[in-house]
């Protein structure tokens, strides 16, 4: 990393970030530079670690089982993860799901990166939203393939394990590099998981519907239906 610190009137100082000889950031903002550095380290880890297979996804644990939310940037993963943590789920990650060869999911413990309406981001640890982080490797019981849509209500359809793997593949950082191991891990992970797909509206309402907290009548009914397939 280098910085042009010569202060001359009318001259803007750019921050530069290199990975080896490759320029990966050139801009005025120091915060953005560290974001770029973090992103580059994440990609480097995904490419070089042999222990884990990376998927761009949010992860929480509910009753010792993993809920994985793969998705692109701006699909609302972090918002949903935060709502789960506020509802009592353990925080695992809002950026990467780390699968091992047995298909269990591990935590990627960095604070949640919450986008703000006025632009920019804040970082919040699970404790700051009243939750806890998890560390243990856990089996996956639910995959949520969803994207925030303002007018949508959560009314998901169940999709097959094969299509679930296909969706994980579309967000995998490891499949091109270690295809065989990745397909094995995804298949093992999804063998006994439920896979729900569909657009969602408000994150808290969606989480309440999934965890069966709706109106408190039959508190765990919803989760029993979808989360106890194993």
């Amino acid at each position: 990393m280098g910085s042009n610190s010569s202060i001359r009137p009318g001259i803007r100082s750019f921050n530069l970030l290199y990975a080896d000889t490759h320029l990966i950031y050139r801009g005025l903002g120091l915060y953005d530079l560290f974001e770029a550095l973090e992103s580059d380290i994440g990609i480097y880890l995904a490419q070089h670690t042999k222990k884990y297979l990376f998927v761009h996804a949010g992860v929480v644990a509910w009753r010792g089982k993993g809920i994985v939310i793969p998705g692109s940037s701006f699909s609302g993963k972090t918002e949903l993860v935060r709502a789960f943590v506020e509802a009592g789920a353990k925080y695992y990650s809002d950026e990467f799901a780390l699968f091992d060869n047995n298909g269990n999911v591990h935590s990627f413990p960095r604070p949640m990166s919450i986008r703000q309406q006025e632009g920019g981001k804040v970082r919040l640890a699970a404790g700051e939203v009243g939750g806890k982080s998890g560390k243990k490797a856990i089996p996956v019981s639910l995959i949520l393939l969803t994207k925030y849509e303002p007018q949508a209500t959560w009314s998901p359809r169940t999709i097959s394990s094969g299509h679930g793997v296909l969706h994980l593949s579309a967000h995998s950082l490891s499949l091109r590099i270690r295809p065989k191991a990745t397909l094995v891990a995804f298949s093992r992970a999804l063998k006994r998981a439920n896979i729900l797909a569909g657009p969602r509206g408000d994150a808290r309402e969606t989480v309440a519907s999934i965890l069966g907290h709706k109106s408190g009548a039959n508190k765990d009914a919803g989760w029993r239906k979808i989360g106890d397939r194993q």
């Binding site: 490759h22 990966i24 990376f54 579309a170 950082l173 094995v184």
Partner: protein, 164 residues
């Protein structure tokens, strides 16, 4: 059915990585970087495309399984889909005399059981690690295929492609 069509010998592509999961077959093609999910019917047809069996023999082999509709039109539909997905190494001939069945027609013809017996292939392009990761903050170099975070877009700045 045209006799020469029945003698066509389809050959599945080699060098792909496969994995069975609950009746479906996952196929990753490292050349095209595409992943495919084949339902039971298309998976069975693909597995029978060994470069030795003719279409007629494949149809015959499929008829041994009563759960699979081994209609000529269905087999050709599967072959067309497999070819389109890049999972056959030889070109399927145009079905001149054969009935060219579309997926919709096959579904209508077979009614409620269609999902079980109509060949279906879903495909996705597997991203590079940079494409799969979170979007790049403004100021990042976007040469490696990463997407820029809103409101920036990848544009030329000097000799670099930068999220501007």
């Amino acid at each position: 059915m045209n006799l020469s069509l029945n003698h066509f010998v389809p050959q599945k592509r080699k060098g792909v990585i496969t994995r069975q999961i609950q009746g479906e077959l996952l196929v990753f093609d490292p050349e095209s970087n595409k992943a495919h999910c084949l339902n039971a019917v298309s998976a069975r047809v693909w597995q029978l495309c060994d470069g030795k069996r003719t279409v007629a023999q494949i149809t015959h082999a499929l008829k041994e399984n009563p759960a699979v509709c081994a209609d000529d039109g269905v087999i050709w539909l599967a072959l067309r889909q497999l070819k389109k997905a890049g999972l056959l190494s030889n070109s399927t001939p145009p079905p001149l005399g054969a009935r060219r069945l579309s997926r919709r027609e096959a579904g209508t013809m077979l009614g409620k059981t269609a999902l079980l017996v109509v060949p279906l292939i879903s495909s996705v392009v597997v991203p590079t690690p940079a494409e799969a990761a979170s979007c790049l903050p403004c100021g990042s170099i976007c040469l490696s295929g990463g997407k820029c975070c809103s409101p920036c877009t990848c544009g030329v700045q000097g000799i670099n492609l930068v999220c501007l």
